[in-house]
């Protein structure tokens, strides 16, 4: 019996970026849902249960940081693990993301192995 696949929600306004993350994770046995902005992520989290949120930092209308804060405010999903992706080393190094409650940061570009191992560290094999 295979365990039920863990679900990962990916929020990124760039289709090729979230597509790649999703592809790599799916090939490692995770189930992925893609959305293109923070609001969609929030909407989806209300109706679907997911095991992990991966969000880009720079997105129009709502940054990853804002999304993280919103998630942490909502009791039902406050405990959801979150990985933030960013191209900005400065953003990644600043304490804002961590203070807001991000579980882990990934600097773009990251390798497949880095992505998968970060996810596995959080969700297990």
């Amino acid at each position: 019996m295979r365990p039920v696949a863990r679900r990962v929600l990916i929020a990124d306004d760039s289709i090729s970026s979230r597509g790649m993350v999703s592809l790599v994770l799916r090939s490692s046995g995770f189930e992925c849902i893609e959305v293109s902005d923070g609001q969609q992520a929030i909407d989806l989290l209300q109706s679907e249960s997911v095991d992990l949120l991966i969000t880009d930092h720079w997105m129009p209308s709502m940054t990853g940081l804002e999304l993280v804060k919103l998630v942490r405010e909502r009791s039902a999903i406050a405990g959801l693990p979150i990985i933030a992706m960013t191209t900005d080393v400065d953003v990644a190094k600043s304490s804002d993301l961590r203070n807001a409650g991000v579980t882990a940061c990934l600097n773009k570009p990251f390798t497949r192995e880095e992505l998968v191992s970060a996810v596995i560290r959080i969700l297990g094999e």
């Binding site: 760039s14 090729s16 597509g19 592809l23 720079w58 191209t87 600097n107 773009k108 570009p109």
Partner: protein, 656 residues
Amino acid sequence: MSDARLSADIAALRTVFRMEARELLENLQSCLLDLERAPGTMELVDATFRHLHTLKGIASMYGFERVANIAHGLESSFEKARQGSTEVTRDVILLALDAHDCMLSLVSGEEHEEAGESTRARADDLIASIGGKFESEAEIDFKVAEPIGLARNKRYLISLRPASNALFRGLRPLSILNELRTLGECKVVAKTTDVPLLGDLDTGTLYLSWDIEIFTDEARSRIEDAFMFLDTEEFSIVEATPELQSEADIERRSGGDRRSAARRTDKPGTEDTVRVSAGRLDQLVDMVGELVTAHGALANAVSSNEYSRVGGIAEDIGRLTEGLRVSVLDIRMVPIGTLVGRFRRHVRDLAGQLGKEVDIVVDGAETELDKGVLDRIAEPVLHVLRNSIDHGIEAPEVRLATGKPRRGTITLSAFQTAGNVYVRISDDGQGVDLSSVALIAGEVVGIEKAAEPGSAGLTEMLFRPGFSTNKSVTNVSGRGVGLDVVRRVIQELRGTVDLKTDPGKGTTFILKLPLTLAIVEGLVAHVGEERYIFPLAVVESCVEVRQSAAWREHGRDSIEVQDKLLPLISLRRYFEVGGEQPSAEMAVVVSVEGERFGVVVDAVRDSIQAVIKPLSIFLRGSPSFSGTTVLGDGQVVPVLDVSGLLRANGGGSRPG
């Protein structure tokens, strides 16, 4: 998911990446051009920065290091401007535009090797001069550019056809399939055609056979192991490469009927993609669902002999089919504003070369046009723009002297009527000097009495091949590629071009285009047993032709229509159709490229709305056909390409 499958998915994603990168670059360019006009606009600096940032992110992810580095370097310059520590100077904008061009060629490069040697060298120069080296803590080794395992992965096509008594031998096909599944990803298709009706079924007999496609890293011998209990004639294993598969995919994808009318302009290397909103797709899915239901109802009515219900169901199906047609065509619609985005840079560069100052303004950018039409009018529209910049808009000093603003304006507007889209390109330049047109018309074409200035006949002259009022040939337009080319392309799209000019005030070109190329209104003409479709757009009228001696013997004749002699082309003769020539025939009077002539057929019976399909491989290259369509009775008939027909009959030089 197997690695081979992963490679295929990555290849698909790379196409998405290219699309997204090109879109980002287009937005970037548009921001830069705006910035050039209005330096220091903070929103523009912000937007530029964001585009560069996103581009850097995805380029690095997909292994386009040079693009990432260039974007990174530029991003730093704009970041400083964003924080107010420096200004975006004209030099920075020029450099950025240059970098844009370079990144565009890099992104469009075929392989992950990016573009050619020269582009790479240019990119490295740029990176050096921008001083940006994007070094993340991670190495850029998100090796999607070299899909993992593409080279070593294998695809096998297996045919498993055990003898019908195999079950007696103790063979368990399921365990074979399960074993294969442990070796890689399998697609299994069971052939059930030999399974008899239940009453005739013998439970000990094996009626099934299987086709299996497997992606695997394993050696062939490992796969053969799975079949160790089978005789050699009971299975076959053929190796196919993943590349082969993707080629087949490409061929399958490009075989779609969207190529119909665009077949001659397809440029290699441009990905033919259309973005479709999820809403439009949902609508399609809904309608397909309803169609399936309607079919069920139809089958039901027929099997229970309730034929009285069929009429109603047919009506439903008719409504759904029409709905589907509309929705499918909708999917191909693209806003015309996307065209202008591509041209802003051209306009800027051209005007710069000629020492002129020109703005391009768009009105009705959201008007939608079939993607096929849009792609094909790009060149003619660009040509008209060149024409306006070169011949229309005056030099700044001249403009100021005549009381006009220093900068010329070209307005591109688009609007839509029932079945057509109008694209209007007007400039506020000097207009066309009709008296010199009349003069040249007299000299060059031999028109004896020059018509009065302002008459339609004179503007018509401008569309003649080889016609130019420009005494000095510039390297912008007037190179012999004249407005005749514009007109030909537009007519091939079943559209028309018109020109209005107001000396001293400007010139307006009006392109009238069909909303879509996939459907043509046509006349069905009969010749003997054959039928041909005339696109209605080129047909002026139909007149009866009585046989004359000259017509019978040489197939050459002319008829008088509205006081003009029209040359005739006989389809019967041209296509060598058998059967007896009727004594009274029909001439379909058509007009293309400024030529009017009659195409003689036996009879014209119906007018139809035909969905054009691309020519089969046997007919491709035939000048006289633009496609085929299926008539209501199921017969496939060709759609005539009337201008091709004219050329094939030595037309173009005949007196009109």
